[in-house]
Symmetry: C2
Subunit: 304 residues, 2 copies
Protein backbone atom coordinates (compact mmCIF):
# COMPACT_ATOMS: atom_id res chain seq x y z
CA UNK A 1 0.00 0.00 0.00
CA UNK A 2 1.52 3.26 -1.10
CA UNK A 3 2.16 5.85 1.54
CA UNK A 4 -0.58 8.42 1.26
CA UNK A 5 0.36 11.86 0.06
CA UNK A 6 0.51 14.84 2.36
CA UNK A 7 -2.54 17.01 2.42
CA UNK A 8 -1.95 20.60 3.37
CA UNK A 9 -4.52 23.32 3.45
CA UNK A 10 -8.30 23.21 3.65
CA UNK A 11 -10.40 20.08 3.14
CA UNK A 12 -13.19 20.43 0.62
CA UNK A 13 -16.53 21.14 2.24
CA UNK A 14 -15.14 21.68 5.75
CA UNK A 15 -15.26 25.28 6.86
CA UNK A 16 -14.12 26.72 10.19
CA UNK A 17 -16.79 25.93 12.81
CA UNK A 18 -17.58 22.52 11.41
CA UNK A 19 -18.18 20.08 14.26
CA UNK A 20 -17.24 16.44 14.61
CA UNK A 21 -18.52 14.06 17.29
CA UNK A 22 -15.21 12.32 17.90
CA UNK A 23 -11.66 11.72 16.65
CA UNK A 24 -12.78 8.98 14.30
CA UNK A 25 -15.08 11.35 12.42
CA UNK A 26 -12.32 13.93 12.27
CA UNK A 27 -10.04 11.27 10.82
CA UNK A 28 -12.60 10.04 8.28
CA UNK A 29 -13.20 13.55 7.02
CA UNK A 30 -9.49 13.91 6.34
CA UNK A 31 -9.12 16.88 8.66
CA UNK A 32 -6.77 15.14 11.08
CA UNK A 33 -5.33 11.88 9.86
CA UNK A 34 -4.32 10.43 13.19
CA UNK A 35 -6.83 8.87 15.57
CA UNK A 36 -4.90 9.43 18.79
CA UNK A 37 -1.90 11.71 18.27
CA UNK A 38 -2.34 15.43 18.56
CA UNK A 39 -0.10 16.13 15.55
CA UNK A 40 -0.43 14.66 12.06
CA UNK A 41 2.76 15.07 10.06
CA UNK A 42 4.75 13.61 7.21
CA UNK A 43 8.44 13.17 7.89
CA UNK A 44 10.47 15.85 6.18
CA UNK A 45 7.41 17.65 4.89
CA UNK A 46 5.89 19.29 7.91
CA UNK A 47 2.76 19.08 10.03
CA UNK A 48 -0.61 18.96 8.26
CA UNK A 49 -2.87 19.32 11.25
CA UNK A 50 -3.11 19.44 15.03
CA UNK A 51 -5.79 18.85 17.63
CA UNK A 52 -5.87 20.97 20.78
CA UNK A 53 -7.22 18.82 23.54
CA UNK A 54 -6.68 21.24 26.36
CA UNK A 55 -4.78 18.65 28.33
CA UNK A 56 -1.35 20.19 28.18
CA UNK A 57 -0.33 22.55 30.90
CA UNK A 58 1.90 24.72 28.74
CA UNK A 59 -0.44 25.47 25.83
CA UNK A 60 -1.95 28.93 25.56
CA UNK A 61 -4.96 29.26 23.33
CA UNK A 62 -5.67 32.89 22.57
CA UNK A 63 -7.97 32.31 19.62
CA UNK A 64 -6.26 33.96 16.67
CA UNK A 65 -2.89 33.17 18.23
CA UNK A 66 -2.01 29.85 19.82
CA UNK A 67 1.17 29.16 21.71
CA UNK A 68 1.40 25.45 21.19
CA UNK A 69 3.69 23.09 23.03
CA UNK A 70 5.57 20.31 21.35
CA UNK A 71 5.40 16.62 22.07
CA UNK A 72 7.60 14.30 24.04
CA UNK A 73 8.90 13.90 27.55
CA UNK A 74 5.51 13.26 29.11
CA UNK A 75 4.52 10.49 31.44
CA UNK A 76 1.78 8.34 29.87
CA UNK A 77 0.14 7.88 33.22
CA UNK A 78 0.22 11.33 34.75
CA UNK A 79 0.28 13.35 31.50
CA UNK A 80 2.88 15.49 33.21
CA UNK A 81 6.12 16.66 31.65
CA UNK A 82 8.84 14.49 33.19
CA UNK A 83 11.75 14.96 30.78
CA UNK A 84 13.10 17.54 28.31
CA UNK A 85 11.65 17.71 24.82
CA UNK A 86 13.89 17.69 21.75
CA UNK A 87 13.36 19.20 18.32
CA UNK A 88 12.86 15.82 16.70
CA UNK A 89 9.95 13.83 15.35
CA UNK A 90 6.67 15.72 15.33
CA UNK A 91 8.35 18.77 16.85
CA UNK A 92 10.78 18.93 13.98
CA UNK A 93 7.88 18.69 11.55
CA UNK A 94 6.16 21.66 13.20
CA UNK A 95 9.38 23.64 12.87
CA UNK A 96 9.58 22.61 9.22
CA UNK A 97 6.29 24.47 8.60
CA UNK A 98 8.03 27.64 9.74
CA UNK A 99 10.52 27.28 6.91
CA UNK A 100 8.10 26.14 4.23
CA UNK A 101 5.23 28.41 5.15
CA UNK A 102 2.77 25.55 4.81
CA UNK A 103 -0.31 25.89 7.03
CA UNK A 104 -1.67 23.55 9.69
CA UNK A 105 -5.34 22.69 10.08
CA UNK A 106 -6.27 23.31 13.71
CA UNK A 107 -9.10 21.56 15.52
CA UNK A 108 -10.16 22.18 19.12
CA UNK A 109 -11.70 19.70 21.49
CA UNK A 110 -14.65 21.52 23.04
CA UNK A 111 -16.65 20.68 26.15
CA UNK A 112 -20.00 22.45 26.44
CA UNK A 113 -22.88 21.51 28.74
CA UNK A 114 -21.21 18.25 29.61
CA UNK A 115 -20.81 17.25 25.96
CA UNK A 116 -17.40 16.88 24.27
CA UNK A 117 -16.89 17.25 20.55
CA UNK A 118 -14.36 18.63 18.07
CA UNK A 119 -14.62 21.92 16.26
CA UNK A 120 -12.46 22.69 13.22
CA UNK A 121 -10.89 26.11 13.70
CA UNK A 122 -9.35 26.68 10.29
CA UNK A 123 -5.84 27.19 8.96
CA UNK A 124 -2.97 28.65 10.93
CA UNK A 125 0.58 29.37 9.98
CA UNK A 126 3.41 28.46 12.31
CA UNK A 127 5.22 31.75 12.67
CA UNK A 128 8.11 30.85 14.96
CA UNK A 129 9.42 28.37 17.49
CA UNK A 130 11.70 28.43 20.52
CA UNK A 131 12.51 26.48 23.64
CA UNK A 132 11.44 27.30 27.18
CA UNK A 133 11.40 25.85 30.62
CA UNK A 134 7.83 24.64 31.05
CA UNK A 135 5.76 24.73 34.20
CA UNK A 136 7.18 21.31 35.09
CA UNK A 137 10.74 22.66 35.06
CA UNK A 138 11.64 20.67 31.95
CA UNK A 139 12.57 22.01 28.53
CA UNK A 140 9.66 22.26 26.11
CA UNK A 141 9.48 23.48 22.54
CA UNK A 142 6.94 26.17 21.81
CA UNK A 143 5.34 27.12 18.53
CA UNK A 144 3.53 30.33 17.79
CA UNK A 145 0.52 29.70 15.54
CA UNK A 146 -1.29 32.57 13.87
CA UNK A 147 -4.68 32.34 12.25
CA UNK A 148 -4.56 32.64 8.49
CA UNK A 149 -7.25 34.99 7.34
CA UNK A 150 -6.39 34.86 3.65
CA UNK A 151 -5.90 31.75 1.67
CA UNK A 152 -6.18 31.50 -2.07
CA UNK A 153 -6.84 28.19 -3.76
CA UNK A 154 -5.47 27.90 -7.28
CA UNK A 155 -8.19 27.88 -9.97
CA UNK A 156 -7.45 24.27 -10.91
CA UNK A 157 -8.07 23.04 -7.40
CA UNK A 158 -10.87 25.24 -6.15
CA UNK A 159 -12.61 23.56 -3.25
CA UNK A 160 -10.38 20.50 -3.30
CA UNK A 161 -7.82 19.40 -0.82
CA UNK A 162 -4.32 19.96 -2.05
CA UNK A 163 -1.87 17.15 -2.44
CA UNK A 164 1.87 17.06 -2.86
CA UNK A 165 3.09 16.46 -6.40
CA UNK A 166 4.80 13.30 -7.44
CA UNK A 167 8.27 14.69 -7.21
CA UNK A 168 10.11 12.10 -9.22
CA UNK A 169 8.38 12.32 -12.53
CA UNK A 170 7.09 15.80 -13.09
CA UNK A 171 9.56 18.53 -13.81
CA UNK A 172 6.79 21.04 -13.57
CA UNK A 173 4.77 20.14 -10.50
CA UNK A 174 1.04 20.72 -10.66
CA UNK A 175 -0.13 23.99 -9.19
CA UNK A 176 -2.32 22.15 -6.71
CA UNK A 177 0.56 21.48 -4.35
CA UNK A 178 -0.59 24.30 -2.22
CA UNK A 179 -2.70 27.34 -2.76
CA UNK A 180 -0.79 30.19 -4.34
CA UNK A 181 0.44 32.62 -1.75
CA UNK A 182 -1.55 35.78 -1.64
CA UNK A 183 1.62 37.73 -1.95
CA UNK A 184 4.60 36.19 -3.60
CA UNK A 185 7.72 37.73 -2.20
CA UNK A 186 9.91 38.61 -5.11
CA UNK A 187 12.47 40.86 -3.55
CA UNK A 188 14.57 40.90 -0.47
CA UNK A 189 13.16 41.19 2.95
CA UNK A 190 14.27 44.77 3.38
CA UNK A 191 13.72 45.99 6.83
CA UNK A 192 13.95 49.59 7.85
CA UNK A 193 17.10 50.22 9.82
CA UNK A 194 16.87 51.57 13.31
CA UNK A 195 19.71 53.66 14.68
CA UNK A 196 21.02 50.56 16.38
CA UNK A 197 20.90 48.24 13.38
CA UNK A 198 22.59 50.83 11.21
CA UNK A 199 25.24 51.48 13.83
CA UNK A 200 26.23 47.84 14.22
CA UNK A 201 26.63 47.47 10.46
CA UNK A 202 28.79 50.58 10.28
CA UNK A 203 30.96 49.51 13.20
CA UNK A 204 31.71 46.18 11.54
CA UNK A 205 31.77 47.75 8.06
CA UNK A 206 29.16 45.23 6.92
CA UNK A 207 31.43 42.27 7.70
CA UNK A 208 29.66 39.25 9.12
CA UNK A 209 30.76 38.73 12.73
CA UNK A 210 30.73 34.97 12.19
CA UNK A 211 32.36 34.40 8.82
CA UNK A 212 33.77 37.82 7.92
CA UNK A 213 32.16 37.99 4.49
CA UNK A 214 31.16 41.42 3.19
CA UNK A 215 28.47 41.46 0.51
CA UNK A 216 28.97 44.23 -2.02
CA UNK A 217 26.23 45.35 -4.36
CA UNK A 218 25.90 48.19 -6.85
CA UNK A 219 23.69 49.86 -4.27
CA UNK A 220 26.30 49.54 -1.55
CA UNK A 221 27.29 46.92 1.00
CA UNK A 222 24.64 44.69 2.50
CA UNK A 223 24.46 43.05 5.93
CA UNK A 224 21.75 42.19 8.42
CA UNK A 225 21.42 43.01 12.08
CA UNK A 226 20.19 40.08 14.13
CA UNK A 227 18.60 40.76 17.50
CA UNK A 228 20.03 38.12 19.78
CA UNK A 229 17.06 38.10 22.12
CA UNK A 230 14.25 38.75 19.64
CA UNK A 231 12.14 41.89 19.74
CA UNK A 232 8.47 41.85 20.57
CA UNK A 233 6.36 39.16 22.18
CA UNK A 234 7.15 36.76 23.68
CA UNK A 235 10.86 37.47 24.03
CA UNK A 236 10.85 41.24 24.53
CA UNK A 237 14.49 41.80 23.71
CA UNK A 238 15.64 45.44 23.46
CA UNK A 239 16.74 47.24 20.33
CA UNK A 240 20.19 48.08 21.64
CA UNK A 241 23.77 47.53 20.44
CA UNK A 242 24.31 45.03 23.25
CA UNK A 243 21.57 42.87 21.75
CA UNK A 244 22.51 42.82 18.06
CA UNK A 245 24.99 41.10 15.82
CA UNK A 246 26.05 42.16 12.34
CA UNK A 247 25.62 39.05 10.20
CA UNK A 248 25.46 37.98 6.58
CA UNK A 249 22.04 36.66 5.54
CA UNK A 250 23.24 33.06 5.76
CA UNK A 251 24.43 33.33 9.33
CA UNK A 252 21.39 35.36 10.26
CA UNK A 253 19.15 32.50 9.17
CA UNK A 254 21.32 29.94 10.95
CA UNK A 255 21.38 32.02 14.13
CA UNK A 256 17.62 32.60 14.22
CA UNK A 257 16.97 28.93 13.56
CA UNK A 258 19.26 27.81 16.36
CA UNK A 259 21.92 26.12 14.25
CA UNK A 260 24.65 27.72 16.27
CA UNK A 261 25.07 29.64 19.45
CA UNK A 262 27.60 31.97 21.00
CA UNK A 263 29.24 31.43 24.38
CA UNK A 264 29.63 34.36 26.77
CA UNK A 265 33.25 34.82 25.71
CA UNK A 266 32.37 34.94 22.00
CA UNK A 267 33.32 31.34 21.18
CA UNK A 268 31.02 29.90 18.55
CA UNK A 269 29.05 26.80 19.48
CA UNK A 270 28.10 24.43 16.70
CA UNK A 271 30.60 26.18 14.41
CA UNK A 272 34.35 26.62 14.56
CA UNK A 273 35.82 29.93 15.59
CA UNK A 274 35.09 33.08 17.44
CA UNK A 275 32.70 35.97 16.98
CA UNK A 276 34.49 38.97 15.39
CA UNK A 277 34.43 41.74 17.94
CA UNK A 278 34.74 45.51 17.85
CA UNK A 279 35.81 47.56 20.85
CA UNK A 280 32.83 49.89 20.47
CA UNK A 281 30.38 47.01 20.22
CA UNK A 282 29.89 45.21 23.50
CA UNK A 283 27.47 42.33 23.23
CA UNK A 284 25.80 41.47 26.53
CA UNK A 285 26.31 37.94 27.84
CA UNK A 286 22.72 37.85 29.12
CA UNK A 287 21.35 38.01 25.59
CA UNK A 288 23.75 35.40 24.26
CA UNK A 289 22.64 33.16 27.12
CA UNK A 290 18.98 33.80 26.32
CA UNK A 291 19.56 32.73 22.75
CA UNK A 292 21.42 29.60 23.79
CA UNK A 293 18.66 28.58 26.15
CA UNK A 294 15.73 29.33 23.88
CA UNK A 295 17.02 28.66 20.38
CA UNK A 296 20.32 26.89 20.10
CA UNK A 297 19.81 23.17 19.58
CA UNK A 298 23.09 21.28 19.31
CA UNK A 299 22.86 18.70 16.57
CA UNK A 300 24.83 15.51 16.99
CA UNK A 301 27.44 15.32 14.26
CA UNK A 302 25.76 17.98 12.18
CA UNK A 303 27.82 21.07 11.49
CA UNK A 304 26.51 23.39 8.80
CA UNK B 1 32.49 74.30 8.38
CA UNK B 2 31.33 70.82 9.28
CA UNK B 3 29.40 68.92 6.68
CA UNK B 4 25.75 69.12 7.64
CA UNK B 5 24.15 65.96 8.90
CA UNK B 6 21.67 63.99 6.85
CA UNK B 7 18.05 64.66 7.57
CA UNK B 8 15.74 61.81 6.82
CA UNK B 9 12.04 61.75 7.45
CA UNK B 10 9.54 64.52 7.98
CA UNK B 11 10.43 68.14 8.64
CA UNK B 12 8.77 69.67 11.67
CA UNK B 13 5.71 71.68 10.80
CA UNK B 14 5.60 70.64 7.15
CA UNK B 15 2.75 68.29 6.36
CA UNK B 16 1.85 66.76 3.00
CA UNK B 17 0.09 69.42 0.92
CA UNK B 18 2.27 72.26 2.15
CA UNK B 19 3.04 74.61 -0.71
CA UNK B 20 6.21 76.54 -1.55
CA UNK B 21 6.51 79.33 -4.09
CA UNK B 22 9.87 78.24 -5.46
CA UNK B 23 12.93 76.04 -4.98
CA UNK B 24 14.58 78.54 -2.69
CA UNK B 25 11.70 78.37 -0.21
CA UNK B 26 11.76 74.59 -0.40
CA UNK B 27 15.47 74.70 0.37
CA UNK B 28 15.10 77.17 3.25
CA UNK B 29 12.45 75.03 4.87
CA UNK B 30 14.82 72.09 4.83
CA UNK B 31 12.51 69.95 2.73
CA UNK B 32 14.89 69.69 -0.24
CA UNK B 33 18.38 70.84 0.42
CA UNK B 34 19.47 71.43 -3.17
CA UNK B 35 18.44 74.51 -5.12
CA UNK B 36 18.71 73.01 -8.59
CA UNK B 37 19.20 69.25 -8.50
CA UNK B 38 16.21 66.98 -8.38
CA UNK B 39 17.81 64.66 -5.82
CA UNK B 40 19.30 65.62 -2.48
CA UNK B 41 21.54 62.90 -1.12
CA UNK B 42 24.50 62.28 1.17
CA UNK B 43 27.18 60.03 -0.26
CA UNK B 44 26.98 56.57 1.23
CA UNK B 45 23.86 57.36 3.23
CA UNK B 46 21.08 57.55 0.72
CA UNK B 47 18.71 60.10 -0.75
CA UNK B 48 16.86 62.42 1.62
CA UNK B 49 14.51 64.03 -0.82
CA UNK B 50 13.51 64.42 -4.46
CA UNK B 51 11.63 66.97 -6.53
CA UNK B 52 9.46 65.80 -9.42
CA UNK B 53 9.54 68.50 -12.03
CA UNK B 54 7.62 66.64 -14.68
CA UNK B 55 10.33 67.26 -17.21
CA UNK B 56 11.62 63.75 -17.60
CA UNK B 57 10.09 61.61 -20.28
CA UNK B 58 10.47 58.31 -18.41
CA UNK B 59 8.91 59.22 -15.06
CA UNK B 60 5.49 57.87 -14.22
CA UNK B 61 3.66 59.57 -11.42
CA UNK B 62 0.74 57.48 -10.25
CA UNK B 63 0.19 59.27 -6.96
CA UNK B 64 0.75 56.66 -4.28
CA UNK B 65 3.27 54.96 -6.53
CA UNK B 66 5.93 56.78 -8.51
CA UNK B 67 8.20 55.16 -11.05
CA UNK B 68 11.09 57.56 -10.88
CA UNK B 69 13.96 57.74 -13.32
CA UNK B 70 17.54 58.21 -12.27
CA UNK B 71 19.90 60.97 -13.22
CA UNK B 72 22.66 61.20 -15.76
CA UNK B 73 23.16 60.83 -19.47
CA UNK B 74 21.03 63.83 -20.41
CA UNK B 75 21.88 66.67 -22.70
CA UNK B 76 21.85 69.96 -20.79
CA UNK B 77 20.43 71.74 -23.79
CA UNK B 78 17.75 69.41 -25.04
CA UNK B 79 16.96 67.67 -21.71
CA UNK B 80 16.86 64.48 -23.74
CA UNK B 81 18.52 61.22 -22.74
CA UNK B 82 21.60 60.96 -24.95
CA UNK B 83 23.69 58.35 -23.13
CA UNK B 84 23.25 55.40 -20.77
CA UNK B 85 22.81 56.01 -17.05
CA UNK B 86 24.95 54.18 -14.50
CA UNK B 87 24.19 53.22 -10.92
CA UNK B 88 26.57 55.78 -9.51
CA UNK B 89 26.27 59.13 -7.78
CA UNK B 90 22.71 60.13 -6.96
CA UNK B 91 21.38 56.94 -8.54
CA UNK B 92 23.47 54.85 -6.20
CA UNK B 93 22.15 56.86 -3.27
CA UNK B 94 18.56 56.16 -4.31
CA UNK B 95 19.40 52.45 -4.48
CA UNK B 96 20.97 52.73 -1.04
CA UNK B 97 17.55 53.69 0.38
CA UNK B 98 16.24 50.34 -0.82
CA UNK B 99 18.76 48.60 1.41
CA UNK B 100 18.44 50.88 4.41
CA UNK B 101 14.71 51.40 4.28
CA UNK B 102 15.13 55.12 4.86
CA UNK B 103 12.38 57.25 3.33
CA UNK B 104 12.60 60.08 0.81
CA UNK B 105 10.66 63.33 1.07
CA UNK B 106 8.88 63.87 -2.24
CA UNK B 107 7.86 67.25 -3.60
CA UNK B 108 6.02 67.85 -6.87
CA UNK B 109 6.29 70.87 -9.10
CA UNK B 110 2.70 71.84 -9.88
CA UNK B 111 1.35 74.10 -12.61
CA UNK B 112 -2.22 75.28 -12.07
CA UNK B 113 -3.93 78.19 -13.84
CA UNK B 114 -0.65 79.36 -15.30
CA UNK B 115 1.02 79.46 -11.88
CA UNK B 116 3.90 77.16 -10.92
CA UNK B 117 4.71 76.22 -7.35
CA UNK B 118 5.90 73.25 -5.30
CA UNK B 119 3.74 70.98 -3.21
CA UNK B 120 5.24 68.65 -0.60
CA UNK B 121 3.76 65.18 -1.09
CA UNK B 122 5.06 63.41 1.98
CA UNK B 123 7.32 60.45 2.63
CA UNK B 124 7.86 57.57 0.25
CA UNK B 125 9.94 54.46 0.54
CA UNK B 126 12.04 53.27 -2.35
CA UNK B 127 10.85 49.72 -2.79
CA UNK B 128 13.00 48.50 -5.67
CA UNK B 129 15.16 49.50 -8.61
CA UNK B 130 16.07 48.11 -12.01
CA UNK B 131 17.40 49.18 -15.37
CA UNK B 132 15.41 49.64 -18.56
CA UNK B 133 15.75 50.98 -22.02
CA UNK B 134 14.12 54.39 -21.83
CA UNK B 135 12.03 56.07 -24.52
CA UNK B 136 15.24 57.51 -25.95
CA UNK B 137 16.70 54.06 -26.50
CA UNK B 138 19.32 54.54 -23.80
CA UNK B 139 19.65 52.66 -20.51
CA UNK B 140 17.98 54.36 -17.58
CA UNK B 141 17.69 53.32 -13.94
CA UNK B 142 14.20 53.16 -12.52
CA UNK B 143 13.08 53.37 -8.91
CA UNK B 144 9.72 52.34 -7.57
CA UNK B 145 8.57 54.73 -4.85
CA UNK B 146 5.63 53.88 -2.62
CA UNK B 147 3.82 56.30 -0.41
CA UNK B 148 4.43 55.69 3.27
CA UNK B 149 1.15 55.87 5.13
CA UNK B 150 2.53 55.04 8.54
CA UNK B 151 5.45 56.71 10.14
CA UNK B 152 6.17 56.73 13.83
CA UNK B 153 8.41 59.34 15.37
CA UNK B 154 10.23 58.23 18.49
CA UNK B 155 8.93 59.90 21.68
CA UNK B 156 12.16 61.82 22.19
CA UNK B 157 11.95 63.46 18.82
CA UNK B 158 8.25 64.01 18.29
CA UNK B 159 7.72 66.65 15.67
CA UNK B 160 11.40 67.23 15.05
CA UNK B 161 13.45 66.42 12.02
CA UNK B 162 15.63 63.44 12.55
CA UNK B 163 19.36 63.67 12.23
CA UNK B 164 22.07 61.08 11.90
CA UNK B 165 24.02 60.38 15.07
CA UNK B 166 27.64 61.31 15.48
CA UNK B 167 28.97 57.91 14.67
CA UNK B 168 32.46 58.25 16.04
CA UNK B 169 31.80 59.04 19.65
CA UNK B 170 28.56 57.48 20.77
CA UNK B 171 28.45 53.76 21.20
CA UNK B 172 24.73 53.94 21.69
CA UNK B 173 23.39 56.26 19.03
CA UNK B 174 20.46 58.48 19.91
CA UNK B 175 17.07 57.08 19.00
CA UNK B 176 16.37 60.13 16.88
CA UNK B 177 18.33 58.78 13.95
CA UNK B 178 15.14 57.81 12.32
CA UNK B 179 11.65 57.08 13.49
CA UNK B 180 11.26 53.59 14.88
CA UNK B 181 9.86 51.24 12.30
CA UNK B 182 6.25 50.43 12.89
CA UNK B 183 7.09 46.79 12.75
CA UNK B 184 10.54 45.66 13.65
CA UNK B 185 11.32 42.51 11.77
CA UNK B 186 12.72 40.09 14.27
CA UNK B 187 12.57 36.84 12.42
CA UNK B 188 13.37 35.57 9.01
CA UNK B 189 11.50 36.62 5.99
CA UNK B 190 9.75 33.31 5.58
CA UNK B 191 7.83 33.15 2.41
CA UNK B 192 5.25 30.53 1.67
CA UNK B 193 6.58 28.05 -0.82
CA UNK B 194 4.76 27.55 -4.07
CA UNK B 195 4.95 24.19 -5.80
CA UNK B 196 7.69 25.61 -7.98
CA UNK B 197 9.83 27.07 -5.22
CA UNK B 198 9.60 23.89 -3.22
CA UNK B 199 10.42 21.77 -6.25
CA UNK B 200 13.58 23.68 -7.14
CA UNK B 201 14.87 23.35 -3.58
CA UNK B 202 14.18 19.62 -3.58
CA UNK B 203 15.84 19.09 -6.95
CA UNK B 204 19.01 20.77 -5.76
CA UNK B 205 18.66 19.33 -2.25
CA UNK B 206 18.87 22.85 -0.83
CA UNK B 207 22.35 23.42 -2.29
CA UNK B 208 22.99 26.92 -3.58
CA UNK B 209 23.37 26.80 -7.36
CA UNK B 210 26.11 29.44 -7.14
CA UNK B 211 28.30 28.39 -4.22
CA UNK B 212 27.04 24.92 -3.33
CA UNK B 213 26.49 25.66 0.35
CA UNK B 214 23.66 23.83 2.10
CA UNK B 215 22.33 25.47 5.27
CA UNK B 216 21.24 22.95 7.87
CA UNK B 217 19.04 23.88 10.79
CA UNK B 218 17.32 21.90 13.53
CA UNK B 219 14.10 22.48 11.59
CA UNK B 220 15.56 21.11 8.38
CA UNK B 221 17.59 22.47 5.47
CA UNK B 222 17.05 26.04 4.34
CA UNK B 223 17.40 27.61 0.90
CA UNK B 224 15.65 30.33 -1.06
CA UNK B 225 14.13 30.28 -4.49
CA UNK B 226 14.94 33.39 -6.50
CA UNK B 227 12.72 34.30 -9.41
CA UNK B 228 15.09 35.36 -12.15
CA UNK B 229 12.62 37.66 -13.83
CA UNK B 230 10.74 38.99 -10.80
CA UNK B 231 7.08 38.24 -10.22
CA UNK B 232 4.43 40.92 -10.27
CA UNK B 233 4.55 44.43 -11.66
CA UNK B 234 6.49 45.71 -13.49
CA UNK B 235 8.46 42.63 -14.52
CA UNK B 236 5.69 40.01 -14.68
CA UNK B 237 7.94 36.99 -14.57
CA UNK B 238 6.21 33.60 -14.24
CA UNK B 239 6.30 31.29 -11.26
CA UNK B 240 7.81 28.37 -13.16
CA UNK B 241 10.87 26.16 -12.76
CA UNK B 242 12.45 27.76 -15.81
CA UNK B 243 12.40 31.09 -13.99
CA UNK B 244 13.80 30.15 -10.58
CA UNK B 245 17.18 29.44 -9.03
CA UNK B 246 17.84 27.66 -5.75
CA UNK B 247 20.16 29.97 -3.83
CA UNK B 248 21.53 30.53 -0.36
CA UNK B 249 20.32 33.79 1.23
CA UNK B 250 23.65 35.51 0.47
CA UNK B 251 23.57 34.78 -3.23
CA UNK B 252 19.86 35.55 -3.36
CA UNK B 253 20.58 39.05 -2.08
CA UNK B 254 23.49 39.49 -4.47
CA UNK B 255 21.44 38.24 -7.41
CA UNK B 256 18.45 40.47 -6.70
CA UNK B 257 20.72 43.48 -6.24
CA UNK B 258 22.50 42.89 -9.53
CA UNK B 259 25.93 42.04 -8.13
CA UNK B 260 26.26 39.15 -10.51
CA UNK B 261 24.56 37.77 -13.55
CA UNK B 262 24.32 34.47 -15.36
CA UNK B 263 25.14 33.97 -19.04
CA UNK B 264 22.88 31.85 -21.19
CA UNK B 265 25.24 28.88 -20.85
CA UNK B 266 25.29 29.10 -17.04
CA UNK B 267 28.63 30.91 -16.74
CA UNK B 268 28.62 33.31 -13.84
CA UNK B 269 29.27 36.98 -14.60
CA UNK B 270 30.84 39.09 -11.89
CA UNK B 271 31.76 35.90 -10.02
CA UNK B 272 33.99 32.95 -10.88
CA UNK B 273 32.46 29.67 -11.90
CA UNK B 274 29.36 28.12 -13.31
CA UNK B 275 25.80 27.73 -12.13
CA UNK B 276 25.23 24.23 -10.68
CA UNK B 277 22.72 22.53 -12.93
CA UNK B 278 20.28 19.65 -12.57
CA UNK B 279 18.97 17.70 -15.55
CA UNK B 280 15.37 18.09 -14.39
CA UNK B 281 15.80 21.83 -13.89
CA UNK B 282 16.06 23.73 -17.15
CA UNK B 283 16.50 27.45 -16.65
CA UNK B 284 15.30 29.50 -19.61
CA UNK B 285 17.86 31.74 -21.27
CA UNK B 286 15.23 34.43 -21.84
CA UNK B 287 14.89 34.99 -18.10
CA UNK B 288 18.64 35.03 -17.49
CA UNK B 289 18.89 37.63 -20.25
CA UNK B 290 16.10 39.68 -18.70
CA UNK B 291 17.97 39.73 -15.40
CA UNK B 292 21.23 40.72 -17.07
CA UNK B 293 19.60 43.58 -18.91
CA UNK B 294 17.53 44.92 -16.04
CA UNK B 295 19.59 44.20 -12.93
CA UNK B 296 23.14 43.09 -13.47
CA UNK B 297 25.51 46.03 -13.14
CA UNK B 298 29.14 45.02 -13.70
CA UNK B 299 31.35 46.75 -11.19
CA UNK B 300 34.89 47.59 -12.21
CA UNK B 301 37.30 45.68 -10.01
CA UNK B 302 34.66 44.87 -7.43
CA UNK B 303 34.02 41.19 -6.85
CA UNK B 304 32.08 40.20 -3.74
Amino acid sequence: MAKSASVFGPVQGIAPGHEFANRLELWSAGVHRQTQAGISARQGEGAESIVLSGGYEDDEDLGAVIIYTGRGGRSAESQQQVADQTLTGANRELACNVLSGLPVRVTRKVTEAGRSFYRYAGLYRIASYWAETGKSGHRVWRFRLEELTEWETPPEATGSATTAPDLFTAQEPGPAYGPAPRRLATTLRLVRDTAVTRQVKLLHDYHCQVCGVRLASPAGPYAEAAHIRPLGAPHHGPDTLANVLCLCPNHHVLFDLGSFGVADDGTLLGLAGQLRQHRQHLVAAEFLAYHRVHFYEPQAGELP
